[in-house]
């Protein structure tokens, strides 16, 4: 048994190395997190309207369990703002209804959340987190931020509402109605806290603002005696008044009373909320862990992370903890202050425990208004203005998800807001992935292909359709009919390129079979390429492979376009064979005729037309505008037409320059003021262009042969030949490069093989 020994040796070595190097870093990072986290945890408990001590328990027990069992090395788990808001929303009205202690209900809820999360992790469903859009998190956090902010105004102003209203806006209304009853001590402490939280980080970013704020405000209140119970209604509410923090953990462990046996009605009522809360916790934890992992280069296992979170909450519910999750601020602080391993999070829990033991008496004097001030500032940062704006500008879909979630958060019970956000983002996902994009490939002269939008390729015997994206079963048949729209009377062969299509074999199979049948009725051949292994198997089984014919099927190859190239060659050879079959008598003549290059094969269809009634100035402006949109620097020509649209003449750059430069004199061009030059250039601006243009252009039509085109350009000295139809209207041009391309085409020239040798 050598293996275990070897393991022991390495693990001992590992721990020694850890003690030597990383221990100190983790200890310091843990302390930094605790200093920041203690006031935060107490404040978050205030969000859920629970005694602050439970927030501290959560940032100890849940934190340690999640750190030990989770996947991320830097994630710090504990109370979080959004989750506390949901806990409040879920449990406010249940105690009256069931006559139970609210904290016991919270513990039951926490147990249920942990159980859901743990089962998701054990069932290996960690991957589902990938399908929830980040917009949901941003939207929900922003909504929760607004709720928290609005909810804390009453604590900030020291107002006591006798009955907690059900709806969020009612809380706001009630708060403002009771505003005259506000407690001035609370207001002073609250605003002082906010001011400190804004000012302290500006002095030094590393100072723990919240910690300083609670120490300063707590000290002030204590010294001034504002907490004195003798003040009666005017007294400042402090932590001690909610529930005193004791410097012991004697009461921490307690079996949740409601677990044995749980009241079924309550469990049913909490069910939806627990599920939503579990998912929210997982989304938060996963997205925070992911954003840290991108910096630390750690590879995350979301199943393990789910198990860590679930176990944290499940075990936490036996230690007076409420539901928690990954905390963004504490995780970021832990990572930035040098935390190396998960021990940093565990250290933060130890430091927190130490704080309770040593500073419990002082913590009791922290004013509630001070915690409310911390929460108002946190609430403000939760509304991520920058992200909201950038998401708003990104796409219509993510806008819908983001603001749908945000609006739902503000008006619906929070558990439903979470569900709506998740559903919205899944719908968005289906919308984005459930589409098959079609494009066409057009071979260009040399080698290689251009991808053009569907239905935009020139009519050809061979139509190549490139399929991309996802193909779902329900859409397969519609897609067939859509693909048919690219067929022209000329089409003889259709190539389907399926390499980039994500689908299951049977769906692709049924689409192919249907498409093949339609094409066969029209006497058009089908060639398929980029066929993956799975589809190959299904096609063999169903006999479609035989029907299409093995010679017409090309399998996916790792080389880009390899199978497409072969498919195209096959398609053209089929076109060829059919032509020969149609002209069986004079095979040689047919072959010769086929290679004849005509004007229509090489012409450029895009050209610049202009009415002949215009002036030099307008033509100058038009051509200069055209050049602003052109990348190439070659000379172009403007073709003039009369009012009936018939070709009148041609105007090239030299004709225009001859008019513009006619007043220039050789002796003066070397030193000429720009204004003088501009004036001289404008001298013939208002002459009609008909005076400048060439009108004796050679007559060329679509069927003019290549040698004839070359002869005409040489004899007329015209570099750009206009191609006209029977009515004399211009519908294309043949330039010198088009002629060169025609010569290359006629010779079967492969430019890449003919390049100059050094």
């Amino acid at each position: 048994m050598k293996l275990p020994e070897w393991h022991m040796a390495t693990s001992r070595e590992k721990s020694l190395r850890y003690l030597r190097s990383d221990l100190k870093a983790d200890g310091v990072a843990g302390l930094t997190v605790a200093v920041m986290g203690v006031p935060q945890a107490m404040a978050y408990a205030v969000i859920a309207e629970l005694p602050p001590i439970y927030g501290l328990y959560t940032s100890m027990i849940t934190c340690v369990v999640a750190a030990l069992l989770g996947s991320s090395s830097h994630l710090v788990t504990g109370p979080t703002n959004a989750i506390c808001m949901v806990i409040l929303s879920l449990t406010t009205h249940l105690p009256e209804k069931y006559g139970l202690d609210r904290f016991q209900i919270v513990l039951l809820l926490t147990f249920m959340v942990g159980a859901v999360q743990l089962s998701l992790g054990l069932l290996r469903m960690g991957g589902i987190i990938r399908y929830v859009s980040h917009s949901v998190v941003i939207g929900f956090t922003a909504g929760a931020g607004i709720l928290i902010g609005a909810n804390q105004i009453k604590n900030l102003a020291g107002i006591h509402l006798k009955e907690r209203p059900e709806r969020f806006y009612e809380v706001v209304v009630e708060t403002f109605r009771h505003l005259p009853e506000c407690n001035y001590y609370a207001l002073i402490i609250g605003f002082l806290t906010i001011a400190l939280l804004i000012v302290v980080p500006r002095i030094n970013r590393r100072l723990p603002g919240a910690f300083i704020a609670v120490v300063v405000t707590g000290g002030l209140a204590y010294l001034m005696g504002w907490h004195d119970p003798e003040l009666g209604v005017a007294k400042l509410e402090i932590v001690k008044d909610i529930e005193p923090i004791k410097a012991s953990f004697a009461r921490m462990f307690q079996l949740p009373e409601l677990l044995a046996p749980p009241p079924l009605g309550l469990v049913r009522e909490l069910g939806v909320g627990a599920g939503a809360l579990a998912i929210l916790g997982l989304i938060e934890a996963a997205s925070i862990a992911r954003s840290v992992a991108t910096q630390s280069r750690q590879r995350l296992n979301f199943n393990k992370e789910f198990i860590g979170q679930g176990a944290g909450n499940l075990i936490g519910s036996f230690f007076s903890c409420f539901a928690g999750s990954g905390s963004f601020t504490r995780t970021a602080v832990c990572f930035k202050s040098g935390g190396v391993t998960r021990m940093a999070a565990i250290f933060s829990a130890c430091w927190t425990a130490l704080t309770i033991l040593l500073l419990a008496d002082m913590a009791n004097y922290i004013p509630k208004a001070s915690l409310a001030g911390i929460l108002v500032v946190i609430a403000y940062t939760m509304v991520d203005k920058r992200r909201l704006v950038s998401t708003w500008r990104s796409s219509r879909q993510s806008r819908a998800v983001l603001f749908g979630t945000l609006a739902a958060t503000l008006v619906l019970p929070l558990e439903y807001a979470i569900i709506i956000g998740v559903v919205l983002s899944l719908l968005l996902l289906l919308h984005a992935t459930g589409k098959t994009d079609l494009t066409q490939l057009v071979a260009h002269d040399g080698s290689g292909y251009d991808e053009v939008p569907f239905n935009r390729a020139p009519a050809s015997e061979v139509v190549t359709v490139n399929m991309e994206g996802d193909l779902y079963f329900a859409a397969a048949e519609d897609l067939d009919y859509e693909m048919l729209s690219c067929l022209t009377p000329k089409t003889r062969v259709v190539i389907l390129r399926m390499k980039r299509l994500r689908t299951v074999g049977s769906t692709a199979m049924s689409m192919l079979e249907h498409f093949w049948k339609i094409l066969r009725k029209r006497n058009i051949s089908l060639v398929v390429c980029g066929i993956e292994e799975e589809l190959k198997g299904v096609m063999t089984g169903s006999g479609l492979r035989k029907q299409i014919g093995e010679q017409n099927i090309f399998y996916a190859d790792n080389r880009l376009f390899q199978s497409t190239e072969l498919a195209m060659a096959r398609a053209w050879s089929m076109v060829e064979m059919e032509r020969r079959r149609l002209e069986p008598k004079d095979g040689a003549k047919a072959a010769a005729k086929r290679d004849i290059v005509l004007a229509e094969d090489i012409l450029t269809p895009r050209l610049l037309r202009f009415g002949n009634q215009h002036q030099v100035r307008e033509a100058t402006w038009l051509v200069s505008e055209m050049y602003k949109r052109l990348k190439s620097r070659g000379s172009r020509k403007l073709f003039l037409q009369d009012r009936e649209g018939r070709l009148y003449g041609g105007l090239n750059l030299w004709d225009l320059l001859a008019a513009l430069g006619s007043e220039l004199d050789e002796s003066e061009v070397r030193r000429m003021q720009p204004e003088v030059l501009a004036d001289k250039l404008r001298a013939r601006f208002h002459e009609p262009i008909t005076d400048l243009c060439q009108t004796d252009l050679p007559e060329v039509n679509a069927h003019t042969s290549l040698p004839e085109l070359v002869r005409l350009t040489r004899e007329s000295g015209t570099q750009v030949l206009p191609v006209c139809d029977e009515d004399g209207c211009i519908n294309g041009l043949v330039s010198q490069i088009d002629l060169l391309k025609g010569i290359g085409q006629g010779l079967g020239f492969r430019p890449e093989h003919e390049l100059p040798k050094a």
Binding site: T620, S624, G634, V669, S705, P756
Partner: protein, 156 residues
């Protein structure tokens, strides 16, 4: 504004000794790859400017001196005969040479009197860039056009 502001410092180069077959290969390949092939600088053995190869010059060179055969087969055969010629035989050599500080007025003057696809911008015997007719036209249009004179008046 002078030649330095208008010129394109990147251009294709070819040697005088290459055949027309290679010239055609270069033009068609360059065109497919999206390079500017309208003016290709021809250099001699020292790397100095020998001439400019344009599309029109190449078409004329491939068409040959005599009458162009009417049948495509015969025409292409004559083209293959011409393939043996070198670029030195067909390149343009008569165009004016300019320098980086040649003023735009002079460039416009040169182009308004003769048809050149482009002018080589020289630094001693070497080419440092090309000024295309389209560059010179654009510069002229920019100088001549004012906001009031832009646009098109449509009558009737």
């Amino acid at each position: 504004m002078n030649a330095k502001d208008l010129m394109t410092p990147r251009f294709l180069r070819v040697s005088t000794e290459h055949s027309l077959r290679e010239a055609l290969g270069m033009v068609l390949y360059g065109e497919a790859k999206g390079y500017d092939t309208a003016g290709i600088v021809v250099i001699d053995q020292e790397g100095d400017l020998a001439g400019i190869l344009t599309h029109a010059a190449l078409v004329q060179g491939l068409a040959g001196e005599g009458e162009v055969p009417a049948e495509q087969v015969a025409f292409l055969q004559s083209v293959e005969v011409q393939f043996g010629k070198t670029i030195a035989d067909i390149m343009e050599t008569e165009m004016p040479r300019v320098t980086a500080d040649t003023p735009v007025a002079e460039l416009i003057f040169l182009m308004s009197r003769n048809k050149y696809e482009c002018l080589p911008v020289m630094e001693e015997a070497r080419v440092i860039g090309l000024v295309y007719v389209s560059d010179i036209f654009r510069a002229a249009a920019q100088l001549a056009l004012t906001p009031e004179t832009e646009g098109i008046v449509l009558d009737g």
